[in-house]
Symmetry: C2
Subunit: 117 residues, 2 copies
């Protein structure tokens, strides 16, 4: 497993690819995002998460799940549901949420000597 | 379609989720990434791409494709193949590449009056 990255996991598993752009003043967003991460990690079937954002631009959060049931469980979590509703009202200019079944995966880690050839 | 984000597209389609961490001095990476984007856009079946990176940390590039054949075509592109090999030698501490079939998607765009409720 490459250091600092999620996966690879054993296929099949699921990814939720959430891309978003924030409003100019998304008050409370950072704290809520940290809390959602803490909650997600406690969900059955949670495998991992990766997240990055361009300053003032697109943010991408990819979460990895064992199966569809895990995703449904997280979606139906009451605190998560309330936070999503708050987010639509206050934080997001727009978002797209793609749910996909991972069919294959490969990874690479640089050898310890720093050479990859 | 939310402004500044790729999708939503009509399922089924495919996502390639490429997460990576760069070496300390990835010389030529930025130029090569721009060139690969230009090339990918010309590929049959290319639908879109989103990309973000944490400074000094994880980078995520999500590309969207019509079908498996489109992904194979891009993978077999000669210039892309040469650039990937260069990347393993010089740019990446590690990466993970997840290929997944999108089964459903939803999106949100803030209404023009700025209120989402």
């Amino acid at each position: 497993m490459p250091e600092g990255l999620s996966g690879p996991f054993e296929p099949p598993y699921y990814v939720v690819v959430f891309t978003s752009r924030l409003t100019a003043s998304p008050d409370g967003y950072g704290e809520a995002a940290a809390r959602m991460l803490e909650l997600a990690r406690q969900q059955p079937g949670f495998l991992g998460i990766d997240s990055a954002r361009v300053d003032g631009g697109v943010g991408i959060t990819v979460s990895y799940w064992r199966d569809e049931e895990s995703i449904a469980g997280w979606r139906n979590n009451a605190e998560h549901t309330a936070t999503r509703e708050h987010g639509r009202k206050h934080w997001y200019e727009g978002f797209v949420n793609h749910v996909a079944r991972v069919e294959r995966v490969y990874d690479f880690s640089r050898p310890d000597d720093g050479r990859a050839d």
